[in-house]
Symmetry: C2
DNA sequence: ACATATAAGTACCAGGTGGTACGTAATGAC
DNA sequence: GTCATTACGTACCACCTGGTACTTATATGT
């Protein structure tokens, strides 16, 4: 679709594509305990030379930005969609608990939460993406609570913004616990206890 | 007290003492956003040459262990003592909230929590100290809840160990929020909401 | 005065980091 | 075939990391 016109491309054909590198890097950052994965390590994992990587992403900041965007699209968006599904308030909270404590995607934690925790390691572009995703998530949560307040079975006495911030922080805590190896059952127990104040 | 005997020490007198280096390093680790403070930076801050530091502590692991011990003694012990003070259950929880959200010692977060979050960066000795302090803290909290269950005004329906783990995690979350610059008021609000399930 | 003992710093080590200059390989256009 | 065009990787850069061999400064014992 990129070169459908008659003018065929000239020169050596490209062998490594961006997608492959982004996925490899995402998995590396995601899996690793520490968020200290070097570009050298990523090049070795993706079997791409460093200049190739730098031609595709410009800098480490560019790479981590691309990784974060990919993660947001692949994992965060589905989670966000979960909140606007047609189901009850309590069922949605239960779904959040399931997701954080049981879902295999959170087995090694949430990449966004990890990157947020070590954000000082990243460049300015990545940092601003992190801030943007945080704001977007908080707004999504606040919307969820506002909706529930008018349509739900019970009115909310605590402010939607407070509830949103609370859910956001507790969600981050729960996935951090999974990343540190805590058992899904323990995470579930603690997370459910924390969210019980919202019901 | 170290050389009270008649036999006076021979050789060049020592100029830099361990305490000074430990305090400097503790403040550096504590203050810094990232826990990535290099030994070079600490040497520069403490105005000590690298070999001197290595003679005193053996390795980076030795230094971080000493720092953690000093922090435990200076900050964690007073906090622990707070739980065994003669006051009511609710007052003690309030004191915890005050400490995490208002106390100036937590203005840049809790060094233990920071080191725990980045524990993969440290050597084996430091890591085992972190684990020991965690176990000790959890046991202290569990004891607190067990005591409250028998002598307090209300019995506990949730297990003391669960309550202890919950308090431990919420405490860590609250001080992390302070470390990341969140306002004391916001931290207090969220932390108080979290602890409300314990009352 | 001189030897001995101790503590301190200079100047280095190998290895890893993010990042790049430059030669080379593979294609289409002519 | 020859040439321009493009993608690619080798081999490097300066800088920083934790860690150390070796010299030098300053004290006491005799």
């Amino acid at each position: 679709m990129t070169s459908s016109k008659g003018a065929t491309r000239r020169g050596r054909p490209i062998t490594r594509n961006r997608e492959h590198v982004v996925n490899t890097a995402m998995n590396a950052y995601w899996q690793d305990d520490n968020a200290a994965v070097s570009v050298n390590a990523i090049c070795a994992l993706a079997k791409v030379s460093k200049p190739s990587l730098y031609r595709d992403f410009g800098s480490e900041d560019g790479l981590t930005t691309a990784v974060l965007d990919r993660y947001a699209e692949a994992v965060l968006e589905p989670l966000k969609a979960l909140l606007s599904s047609p189901s009850t308030f309590d069922a949605k909270l239960d779904a959040m608990i399931d997701f954080a404590s049981q879902d295999s995607r959170m087995a090694t934690g949430c990449l966004f939460v990890k990157m947020r925790a070590t954000r000082s390691r990243f460049g300015p572009r990545t940092r601003s993406r992190i801030a943007a995703i945080e704001a977007d998530t908080l707004e999504g949560y606040a919307h969820f609570f506002r909706e529930s307040a008018v349509g739900g079975k019970k009115r909310y006495e605590i402010a939607a913004d407070l509830a949103a911030a609370y859910l956001y922080e507790q969600m981050g805590l729960a996935v951090s616990q999974r990343a540190s190896g805590k058992s899904p059952e323990s995470v579930r127990e603690l997370f459910a206890l924390a969210l019980s104040v919202l019901r």
